[in-house]
């Protein structure tokens, strides 16, 4: 008995710049809102879904059961189980892989997969000195021991450690790592700005044409992605000062790098026969997926180019080439990530990607990138586009992640 996992639809909050309209909402609030929007769209109030998988990259220790707590706050049946997953920026796509595999194995017939992140409500880390002293004090058996533990706290221990996206093994921020890649793969400023410009133009066109009407639900008075600049120009992008890289090599700006973003996105997946029974849309099936990792610590490879390892493995297993795809979704961590990925695929002999098929409805540069939510955004949008193209249309998703990892997936319209 074989089972087919299909994408039924999706829902997300509009994405907004961190510290703005969603500043008072937590990652859990955002995920709950995304789930509730999906529940409303597909009439799932009170329904038991076989499993909900989601996660967040910026996670408070109180959110140890973030997804289950969001389910309990949603209108889904309390009998809906949930799991938290984490694979940095690939979290959302990994959640789709996990749930679609369960559907394919017959362990689930319906599932929700996605992710959420609030850079506004990020956990603040305390210093090691303070953390250890508090732990010692909580273990102390006498008042004296407790006071002794607390007395060991130095004034410098009280400084909060500012949140940052730093690779623990290299000490480089993601932008600094990508600056190395940008230089190595000789990605020009002009190409980066052009890709960023296209992203804004494409996303704006998708919004204007109503493409997101059944993919996004307004939240906190926001009904459209707020980072989107439909009126930006190549001249404006060219005028921005560089923020990553050194000297003449510096080409990366705030305009061709993603902004810190708040938002959540979820996808409804089902076994094909269940979707047909319920008269749910059958947008696309999950064909296959692959994870890979790069040796970035030694500098031999690039932090964000692991998808260039995953893609050939995936193509080989399916007997496919890059020419078999009508659409490509390359997550725009930075414009230069996408451009270096395309160059590497070509140089490694995997093949050339037609730029006109890439990110046709915009991607993270224009929409924003609430880390764990990006996978859900891409899967729902691509599945809808493929369904419009008609049966057999294939799409490839590629998402890079911290730790030198990459997740890729093939969707195909049924």
């Amino acid at each position: 008995m074989t089972h087919t996992a299909v994408v039924v639809g999706g829902n997300r909050t509009p994405f907004v710049k961190a510290g703005t309209k969603y500043a008072s909402a937590s990652a859990q609030d955002l995920l709950t809102a995304a789930i509730d929007g999906l529940v409303a769209r597909f009439g799932l109030a009170g329904a038991k879904i076989d499993e909900v998988a989601a996660g967040a990259v910026l996670k408070h220790s109180r959110d140890f059961n973030l997804t289950r707590e969001s389910v309990l706050g949603s209108a889904l049946s309390p009998h809906t189980p949930a799991v938290d997953l984490a694979q940095a920026c690939a979290t959302g796509l990994e959640a789709v892989i996990y749930t679609s595999n369960k559907i394919r194995l017959g362990q689930a017939r319906s599932a929700i997969a996605g992710g959420t992140d609030s850079a506004s409500d990020a956990p603040i880390v305390v210093t090691e000195g303070l953390r250890k002293a508090i732990l010692r004090a909580s273990r102390a058996r006498s008042l004296g021991d407790r006071l002794k533990a607390l007395a060991s706290i130095r004034p410098s221990d009280l400084m909060p450690v500012p949140p940052a996206v730093i690779e623990p093994r290299t000490g480089l921020s993601m932008g600094e790592s990508q600056a190395l890649t940008t230089t190595r793969w000789e990605v020009s400023r002009e190409d980066q700005d052009q890709l960023s410009y296209d992203s804004h133009q494409n996303l704006a066109r998708a919004w204007d044409s109503g493409f997101f009407d059944d993919l996004v639900t307004a939240y906190r008075g926001v009904s459209r992605d707020s980072i989107l600049r439909a009126d930006t120009t190549l001249e404006k992008l060219a005028s921005l000062r560089t923020v990553f890289g050194r000297g003449d090599d510096a080409t990366m700006t705030a305009g061709n790098s993603t902004a810190l973003t708040d938002g959540a996105a979820v996808v409804l997946l089902a076994e094909e026969s269940l979707a047909r029974e319920r008269n749910w849309p059958v947008l696309a099936k999950v064909v296959d997926s692959q994870i890979a990792a790069a040796d970035y610590v030694t500098g031999a490879e690039d932090l964000l180019l692991a998808p260039t390892r995953a893609i050939p493995e995936l193509l080989e297993r399916g007997g496919l080439t890059l020419d078999d795809f009508e659409l490509f979704e390359f997550h725009e961590a930075f414009a230069s990530t996408v451009l270096a990925t395309l160059k590497a695929l070509e140089q490694n002999g995997v093949g050339a990607v037609d730029r006109a098929k890439v990110n046709v409805d915009g991607s993270s540069l224009a929409a924003g990138h609430p880390f764990a939510a990006t996978g859900g955004r891409i899967v729902a949008s691509l599945a809808k586009r493929l369904a419009e193209r008609g049966s057999g249309a294939k799409g490839l998703i590629s998402i890079c992640a911290a730790g030198g990892q990459g997740a890729v997936m093939i969707l195909e319209a049924l």
């Binding site: 609030d29 709950t32 809102a33 509730d36 309990l72 706050g73 309390p78 906190r220 008075g221």
Partner: protein, 259 residues
Amino acid sequence: MGAKLPRGEVSLDDYRQDLEQSAAYARVTGFSVKDAVPATWLHVCTFGLQGRILRSKEFPFSLAGLVHVSNEMVLHRPVGVAERLRLAVTAENLQPHKKGATFELRGRIHVGDELVWEGSSNYLSTKADVPGDPPETKRLPMPEAQAGGASQRWRLPADLGRQYARVSGDWNPIHLHPLTARIFGFPRPIIHGMWTHARALAAFGGQLPDAYRVRVQFTKPILLPGRVGFVVDGDSFAVVDKEGKPKLVGELTEVPAAS
């Protein structure tokens, strides 16, 4: 010579809900920050108008002796945080009571011409005297606790009254600090009844219906800091002390949603 309530309604057109305040309210009372707001938040929206009636020259009773006895509200349909509201409050239904007199503050909220929320707060004035026989009041049924007791335990911190005052605008000194509470005869501050009400509604999580009627009776004050339990059995719910005695008894029923 009996006391008379002020006549007529006080109202506010085109009331814009404060997004930040509604999120902070959700945080303090245990709700998720959703665009569809809880019925108890809409009560908070009318709280300023309630105050205008209670502080008006025509209002016959002293504020210091007022006790919030019970509350009832109906949410006719989900109300969005971005919706503009028309708020109206009246004072009605003055009745004799064995400890004084009771009256209701009735609130109504419209969006356009549509009635979306109604609320009624029943107050007892112990310093009032209204002639006549007190009408009988029905006690809400106490829910049956599961074997083993309350299924939820809430820890109420010492500053919860100040937290709730900030998000609700109810700065009654009995809720704020031991010193101010002592002036009014409480050994410690007590939490606002409407916090307990909201927290109980939040305990239903995502299972709250789109449209509902909720009634609560405040039976005993909760001292801060404190610990209470929550018991639910079908439509009935209660907030209880550690012996299982009720602090609040309530009833939640789904009503057909107005579309």
